[in-house]
Subunit: 278 residues, 4 copies
């Protein structure tokens, strides 16, 4: 028996759960898991199903479209199909290192197609894992020129997910729009506190008693994208800025990996500037 | 429009979600929220629905029974109907104090019928809140005699939930069976660590770096009942046993209140010695 | 043997710990506990000692002054002496309720002199605990006039600590300066996120995955005072604004009580806009 | 100026802090940081100092011995001197992977001398990092024979710390005694819950709502050694045993790294079966 993950996003209507599960029943699909959420503000309906059986994805897609109307967003994936991922980095190793070690023990149901860095620092590390590393330096290039080069490389891999694993350059609105809802970023603060640069310096200066990290979908507004996961870690006056940065790395890498896993499992729905996690 | 909360527990079968939501659809009930879980080990199906519309509870019950068979456990409640609660205490104030203050600001959708204590200490406190306090001392009585007296008082209130808010006497198997799945207890440790008496002393002696509390349904096996909520708090070598006890009180009262709220909302299903929280 | 708590704040100098502990030694005082911290940025030295023995506070104070110079801030208190506390409230019960129940079981080493509310709502609750409640309404008064009335009442109690237990009016710079480092506030967000009004509404709108609360010393800049304690609680898309507010109450009351206890124990030092907790 | 870390462990006496800091003063050493703790049960005194200046370690050692007596345990280390570490593994990559990546970015002030595995699985991974990997299989050997071979290899590196990074064989009392207080282990449960084998299976079966991990010094009693760090992670009924194991890996690796860092920084004191962390 094959397992399928189905994501459905629609305007809310009476009887949606019934109509959707009826289609599963009529197609001889066994519902293993289902979660749904209705946003009463936006009147939107979100549902994630895991079903098992045998069916062509295109046929199931058609059944759902026929029943629900074509304006409904449906996404069906065989559970064992791996998503294609490209990772982008700058110089720091902790996030990509964590992902590559998870990948090595096959924790993550993905293909890592390549790693793109705007510096060369992490090349030898990444290549140890048998992965391609593309250095695309921003030096001497305008943002447009730099992003064009990145896009060329990215598009050659047709990625489902682009992970910014401490990629420290701001992306243009055009770039972000092109890869709409596909870019995952880790921000080194508990957003919306310390939006922007140097959050640990500012956290130290403010004397907070917790520091945090935020994984979010990248949208055009810097650090304003839909949040997937956040976590914090207690700190005290004994810690220097460097201590905060070091401690923050652990929060960052775990928060990023959790968010990545939620996307891999098709659990993340974007609802304007928020996420629904089913 | 009236809102209803429906709990369904059954052997797993193909098409259950479809058949259940069809009944809602046929009865003109709008499904506001639904969560379900299938325990693949025990092959049991658990579902919680919130629906709105107008229907006699007995009619909806009959529809569900007709469709699903009479061996299925169905529980339907109008959302605004309050459960009857009796609280049992010994001497400590922090848990009952927390509950009574929540009750005062109407956070909890319950009627507190009465408080039963095996000591008289908390009488004046409880009576300040306009609640009945029954002192049922265990002194000079066998366990059976003592529990018989408690049962008499309890039964006069016909409680849906019995909260042991630091009631420090062990209940007999007969007593527990009589109020099957109705008794909520707070244990002052992170179970299964430190089962039994004096957990904070033993935590101190063991030098743990976290202490915790566990709210659970009471079953005949001491501290072995299905766990609803747990939490922990970091501790260090500076803390004495008394410090641990004091710190533990905060964990206990919050964990107990969270568990109570989950029961009040009909979110807790008992699956042999575990809970399913929907 | 009497126990004394000593707080010392000074410019950093070589040999301070040695010179301070020498004074204890020379005065036949046994050092039970000592913690110190040097802020390398500001070159300030902070120390807290617990000592036991028999000495006049004024004599010990003089010894320290003679040795360290008069510009050093020294504060000595017999450990069993209780601080005087006045609590200020508006309408919400959860924070003051939590404090009063702790007080009832003598968890807090304080005298609660009185409660001041700008509304009358909490009077009957507070009076149940045998405490004085002063309603000082702001209606029809300018901020200056209102604060003047509050000061009159406050000053009649000569409080060591003023706890704003969800007192929802902004205090003037004059007021805050008058009670310098004596006012403790609970802010219903994880500062510096959501400074200002309606943090839960804004947290809901932003779709954060954690909400929090912050206890801080009040200074003239709104929500910018030195932070003592912070905590957070995970949330998800299922929670409405009202759910966040309810959940937030638990974080608020626990965070406030922890901060209050740190102040009671003379553990909090103010270092410009930060705290040192020893 | 050189920085030195000094650990002192002694029976408690009046004036110890004064006498110790006097020696620093007399030797022209500036006290940067000092923490101490007196265990009132065992009447033991523990102190950690960070001082800066210029002195021969042997001279400072002698000064302290002369003043405090030779039965006092004193340990002095230049802060920039790296400890020698040998890591022992079985098959799982997450803990050693995490350590090696931290090492690569020079987060840990250590030399990793070698990795010893009782299987060959992790050889190629470890060798990527330019480290020596010794496979010492237990197959066909008695425990004594196996441990003898391990000791031979270990001793050739003269390690200060032996990290059991998911080394899954039980060590004999002789072995443990030989490397007294030098062996750090990560146990995959929140001790003392689920001592022994298969903690995640038993956690799943018990239906706990938090899982955890414990880093501890290894002593002869299995899983009973002094605890350094612990942490937990919330779980629910949706998670299978495999999910718990996966989630647990994150807790394990972070808890182990925190404990390792505390040992590296000379912050861990063993007080019979507990730790004091200064």
């Amino acid at each position: 028996m094959t397992e399928y993950i189905i994501k459905i996003q629609s305007e809310d209507q009476i009887g949606l759960v019934y109509r959707i599960t009826k289609i599963m029943f009529d197609n001889n699909l066994n519902v293993i898991d289902t979660t749904e959420f209705v946003d009463t503000d936006s009147k939107l309906f979100f549902m994630r199903l895991v079903v098992s059986g045998e069916i062509e994805v295109s046929d199931l897609n058609k059944s759902l479209e026929d029943e629900l109307g074509s304006e409904v967003k449906v996404l069906i994936r065989k559970k064992n199909e791996r998503k294609n991922v490209v990772i982008m980095v700058t110089k720091e190793i902790h996030c990509i290192g964590d992902i590559l070690i998870r990948h090595l023990s096959d924790e993550l149901n993905i293909n890592i197609c390549a790693v793109i860095g705007n510096h060369d620092n992490l090349r030898s590390f990444v290549e140890k894992f048998g992965l391609k590393y593309h250095t695309i330096s921003h030096e001497g290039l305008s943002r447009e020129e730099h992003e064009e080069k990145i896009q060329e490389t990215l598009d050659s891999y047709n990625p489902d997910i682009i992970v910014l694993a401490k990629y420290m350059r701001i992306l243009s609105e055009e770039f972000v729009n092109k890869y709409n809802e596909k870019i995952l970023n880790i921000h080194h603060s508990f957003l919306p506190a310390f939006i922007g640069a140097n959050p640990y310096h500012r956290a130290h200066q403010r004397g907070v008693k917790l520091i945090g990290a935020t994984a979010h979908i990248v949208t055009k507004s810097l650090d304003e994208g839909p949040i997937i996961t956040q976590n914090v870690e207690p700190v005290d006056h004994n810690l220097s800025i460097d201590d905060l940065i070091l401690l923050g790395k652990d929060v960052e890498k775990i928060v990023l990996a959790k968010a990545l896993n939620l996307i891999i499992d098709d659990r993340v729905f974007v609802n304007s500037n928020k996420t629904i996690i089913l």
